[in-house]
Assembly symmetry: C2
Homo-oligomer: 407 residues x 2
């Protein structure tokens, strides 16, 4: 623990999603730099024992936990002086608490949207790994970011790479960005072969160690599709200026091309502590004791085209961006619902993209400009997905999955 | 031709070495941006016909030409209103002329040292491809750069890459730089095989099209050794923080590693117009109509270790930097003399590095702090090299080359 004097100059962090993969890496970064960062609040949904351990190590002012674990958590932290909170409204209000300089959003899905907006409106700095809010409501969020003059810094390795490459550069000099993609565990597979994918196979990512939702999204390439939409909002680019390039080694995290055809890339080992720390220390690079890339051992870096016939996700993202309005929100909500079904064993892997495509058709032309409209749309899409309104969801109830449509 | 009004805001360039490889690429850049750049003066040594063509196209205020071609050049430009100059002192004084904002130094060897220093002292911006002055007298030159507050921007693709990667970054965040090297035409060759190298073989570079001196330096890896010394002065790094990495495709032009192990690289096709234009437009990227890198066609990028037993140049550069004083000057002068002998057919290829090593031994401990001392030392080294004072030079007079020493 740092003394109160040391804490004076340290950046106060509210870390929501503290027990997940990004949360734990954030904890590790904070542990290495007590003079720079202090945890003011922590939040976790179900893993309350780990949350308690973190709380006892870092002594935040408060923790927030899922309602099912509130009793155990309160008991475990009794007498610690750490306030234990629960409930949706309390979560959304956490960024308003004293001492919070930065919201680190490491939770999964659109659940992160309202805390993020609340933090922006309160003038807090945002470091976010949680890409779904920006996909759901990029327009209104970026409008709030501009209005309140806050920094909104991505943790995603690809967007961190772009942020690093754009440092010191003028927006008008930018020509294109290249989001790199490992290609996921099914790189090189055929559409037919994808019909046999098991949950276990989808959850084995070749280069990154991450949570179940994002690992599934990486396997369908929907993660990259969400990143295309994220880049669209963060870097104010047309979708045609955002390229996706398969790079199996995950060493080049993304690239930026300028209008003189000069290209800058950010590279590094696939370790989330680098982009997490960069989002917290931006624009500085603090020391981080870890192995450097061994270029000779690595030997080579490869590039491949994405097979859009097998992985339609990027095409769907581009269509959603061109359609505008609520389409990216629909894409994201349908994907979240479909991935949830897949992880529960209720939807075959290859039906995830189909579900998203059907949802985009079903909700075509929905306007969805304001935050409130988009939140309502997000809810509506999930309800209809849950009710099995679409062919793709219905198909999961067939004993034998039938051939999917024109994917 | 641009109108006088357009010229008002354009950067006035003095281009010395206008008919060489870098000179012609600079001409091409200027031609594409008449609103940004205008040629105030041109200089060439022997290719006077081409110089005249350039002068008639761009109408500079003056040209400077080698004394042997003065008559022809004057005749060809009679009545053009373009002043024709010649002689060493006139060359050195060119940067003082009216309208010169920037010296573009595209000549070869230490001949560029005095014009460069004169330009710095006159407060002119420097864009230099000519690395030998900085290798010869990096200490005094950088001292002049600081004193006069001028920009001194490298054109070398590797140093341009580093400049681009460092844009917006703090010096204290830097950990190491990686200078990439194509490995030259003899990558993978043994020491024995290098004894058979012909002039023609040495002048065939695998990825870059350049002049004879720098192409020979690329074949011996002495070019990379000079670049290590150049980086030492430009980026204020210890030699141990400057790594050399063989990268045969010459697409990654160099990389910078920060203290969080994040790495930035600058990439692009091996076309000198990119770094030339960047040095002239720094820190902006102006449009440059050329093919982008085709990542899919490229497919992969490779890294290899440099074989320092076969190519001792980098080791010699590091030794010269550690020795300090006049040692880098000796290294450069001995190399220039040896390459000249090689290009004249008087010295076998594998004796070039040996000559440099013997020169470093012969002049060990020479102080050489001031510009004047270093210029005198440079001259002395060349005279002794020319007189065949060292074993390596003498060896070329044997009918059969004997086995070289511990190289």
């Amino acid at each position: 623990m740092t003394s109160p004097e040391d804490r004076e100059g340290a950046q106060g962090l509210l870390l929501i999603g503290s027990t997940g993969s990004i949360g734990e890496s954030t904890i590790d970064v904070v542990r290495r730099h007590p003079e720079r960062f202090r945890l003011v609040g922590l939040s976790a949904h179900t893993r309350w024992q780990r949350l308690v351990e973190q709380a006892l190590e870092f002594r935040p002012a408060f923790v927030h936990v899922g309602e099912a674990c509130l009793g155990e958590c309160r008991e475990a932290l009794a007498g610690s002086g750490i306030e234990v909170l629960s409930g949706r409204q309390a979560l959304v209000d956490l960024p308003l608490r004293d001492g919070v300089d930065t919201l680190v959003s490491a939770i999964v899905g659109t659940r992160g949207l309202e805390p993020m907006v609340r933090a922006i409106r309160a003038g807090r700095r945002i470091a976010f790994a949680n890409k779904e809010p920006l996909v759901t409501a990029g327009g209104p969020i970026m409008e709030e970011v501009r209005r309140h003059g806050v920094s909104c810094l991505p943790i995603d390795s690809e967007h961190s790479a772009i942020l690093q490459c754009l440092r010191g550069e003028k927006p008008e000099d930018l020509s294109r960005i290249f989001l790199t993609a490992s290609g996921g565990p099914f790189r090189g597979w055929s559409r037919d072969r994808l019909q046999q994918v098991s949950r276990e196979q989808a959850l084995k990512h070749p280069t990154w160690s991450m949570g179940a939702k994002i690992t599934t999204d990486s396997a369908t390439l929907m993660n990259k599709a969400l990143e295309v939409i994220e880049a669209y909002w963060l870097y104010d680019l047309g979708e045609e200026a955002i390229e996706v390039l398969v790079h199996p080694e995950s060493i080049i995290h993304s690239m930026v091309e300028f209008r003189d055809r000069s290209v800058k890339a950010q590279l590094g080992l696939p370790d989330m502590r680098i982009p997490i720390q960069y989002a917290l220390s931006y624009p500085d690079h603090l020391p981080l004791q870890m192995e450097p890339v061994d270029w000779l051992k690595l030997g080579s870096l490869h590039f491949e085209a994405l097979d859009e016939d097998v992985f339609p996700a990027i095409r769907l993202a581009r269509a959603a961006l061109r359609q505008g309005g609520g389409a990216p929100c629909v894409l994201n909500a349908a994907n979240e619902a479909a991935v949830e079904s897949f992880l529960e064993g209720a939807l075959p892997f290859h039906r995830i993209s189909e579900t998203v495509e059907r949802a985009l058709e079903a909700f075509a032309g929905h306007s969805g400009e304001s935050l409130e409209e988009l939140i309502a749309l997000d809810r509506e899409v999930r309800q209809r997905a849950g009710s099995g309104d679409w062919p793709a969801i219905r198909a999961t109830r067939d004993a034998k999955p039938r051939q999917s449509g024109n994917l």
